[in-house]
């Protein structure tokens, strides 16, 4: 069907439509002071099986990250080029981990993809973190591959303290145009999970089994 006739039909339908009037709107949750936000974020992350580390100083980040990675016996990693703290990839290479190339070529794409099969760790930098749900917000783009938080067994997200907000609704209100500026934005709330087999919680069904969040002072 062509666009115009489709939309004309929808427009005509909405004329005779019998929709009720909405009720009046209520207000949002109040904003929280930064210290309370961090406490809430920590506890809510724990509920969704994510682990919060720090806050550490910017210089302490490479050591914190390589500590987590070696704790999981990872031998390879993917990392964003654009991270909120310097020196992370070289710290991981220094402990003997291989860096996996993350630029997907247009040709022979599936051959490249198969190289992602067994990546151990992925490191990303969060645009924001949401205290109420224990989520991190990743904005993808140049030097920021989507795969880094998706195919590895362990995902480590770096978050600056002042990027904490209370809920998705609060954050979206303050950043109304961000989704237009990027091809892909994702909110991540804990490790990949399913309850499809007899409602038993199972972590790491397709995405990472472990999510670590390193807070930066």
């Amino acid at each position: 069907m062509d666009r115009d006739s489709f939309l004309t039909r929808v427009g005509r339908a909405s004329i005779t439509s019998q929709l009720p009037d909405p009720v009046s709107l209520s207000v949002d949750l109040p904003e929280l002071p930064p210290a309370d936000l961090l406490v809430l974020f920590r506890s809510r992350s724990q509920t969704v099986n994510a682990v919060v580390h720090g806050p550490v100083t910017r210089h302490g980040v490479p050591r914190a990250v390589s500590g987590i990675a070696t704790g999981h016996d990872a031998s390879s990693f993917m990392a964003w080029d654009d991270l909120p703290a310097p020196g992370v990839p070289s710290a991981l290479q220094a402990v003997g981990m291989d860096r996996v190339d993350h630029v997907v070529p247009s040709e022979r794409r599936t051959d490249h993809n198969l190289g992602y099969r067994d990546v151990g760790v992925g490191i990303t930098g969060a645009e924001a973190a949401l205290a109420e749900s224990g989520s991190v917000v990743l904005v993808h783009g140049e030097g920021r591959p989507r795969m880094a938080s998706l195919v590895p067994d362990v995902h480590i997200a770096l978050v600056e303290l002042d990027r904490l907000d209370r809920t998705l609704a609060h954050w979206a209100q303050k950043n109304p145009t961000l989704v237009t500026e990027t091809t892909n934005l994702v909110l991540i709330t804990g490790p990949s999970r399913t309850g499809d087999i007899e409602q038993r919680l199972n972590l790491g069904v397709h995405g990472p089994r472990h999510v670590h969040i390193v807070m930066i002072k």
Partner: protein
Amino acid sequence: MSQPVTFLGRAEALIGTHEADAVDRGVRNFLELREKSVEELPALEGLRDRARAIRLHALRHLDRLLTHFADQMQAAGGQVHWAEDAADARQIAADILDRTESLRVVKSKSMVSEEIELNSHLETLGLDVIETDLGEFIAQLAGDTPSHIIAPVLHMTREDIGRLFADELGVPYTEDPFELNRIARAHLREVFLRADAGISGVNMAVAESGSIVLVTNEGNGRLITTAPRVHIALMGMERIVSRWEDAAVVLETLARSATGQRLSVYTNVITGPRREQDPDGPEEVHVIVVDNGRSRILAGETAEILACIRCGACLNACPVFRTAGGHAYGSVYSGPFGSIVTPGLHGMDPWWDLPFASTLCGACEEVCPVRIQIPKMLLQLRQQAASEGRLPGWLQAGIARYARMTVDPSRWARAKKWASRLSGLISTGGWIRRMPGPARGWTSSRDLPRPAKESFNDWWRANRGS
């Protein structure tokens, strides 16, 4: 397998089976999760009001929102297609796959794709189509249909799944859910990375930015929109909100109502295909906007049901769904909302009996995150079925006679006297255990108290009346 054509027929075949037991157990778990999450956030009530207002606003201005969405998505490099009906939508999807030479197709959960029966169509064209949501993957492997919109294999036990994996994937039998999960992960990982195209649904589109939002807990919705060259999204035309801030409110409400989570694990916002500087992502993004009966619903009395955000809360709350399970509804969309959507999309014939598959207890409306007046619409559809003469003759005649009786006091008094006298013949100890004729069904699972010997009016006249 030939299916009975009525809700009652299908339900009677299911009740008491281990499928129905599994559904009841599973649903109770969902209800507990939801209650926990609702208790914790007093502001949820406010969130529901806002979500309702946002959804109703979108429906009122649907043509304008869709226009804006399409313009913005196209500006971002995506393509938007318009499908009048199921055949149209299947054709568009097949054409895209053909043109892009895609043979291996991976799918994340999409109710619309089930509604338009996309898989079987693509399979007849020789394409390899694999469901990647764990529950849907299991259902596909079993050659079964999903029975719950959030938990597709709610009706299967772990032993069922263990046997299935052993038979179909050639792995040793296990009934350990963790081991079963590991097997599926390893099997599907290869499938994702080798796929040419990914097909997803759309939880919500954002008109202002031209974005589509996909919500999953497993990560399959992200993998199929990242790894393959081509991404095709199937979108029911009503799944849209005006702004990103509106989407945020609806997303919070959705997660809490569906599974009691504060947000689903992955909320994926896609605005067009990979741009030049992006390291990954699909080369092409297509959105197929599907009408398939929705404009007919929008034009009529049940338009409000299009505000539904597909959380599944009304299924879990419904005593009929919990007793009979999703398969009893015979349609992709089951439970209370399905009993309105299904006759709306596909016509009253043969679906007119679904609105009767409810006790009208109102639990569905109470839990609905957008406060849809489900019982009211079920009644409207029942009325429509009656006025179209679809009820069995004895029922229609009986109700008409009952109606005449109740509006005339002297007739009503006479009827009560007769009811009291006749019931004396078939009752024992004040209870009727078996009603005669078509009323037998009512007493097949419960007893009916015998009407009192004397009516209250008679008693009042004899004792207190002046």
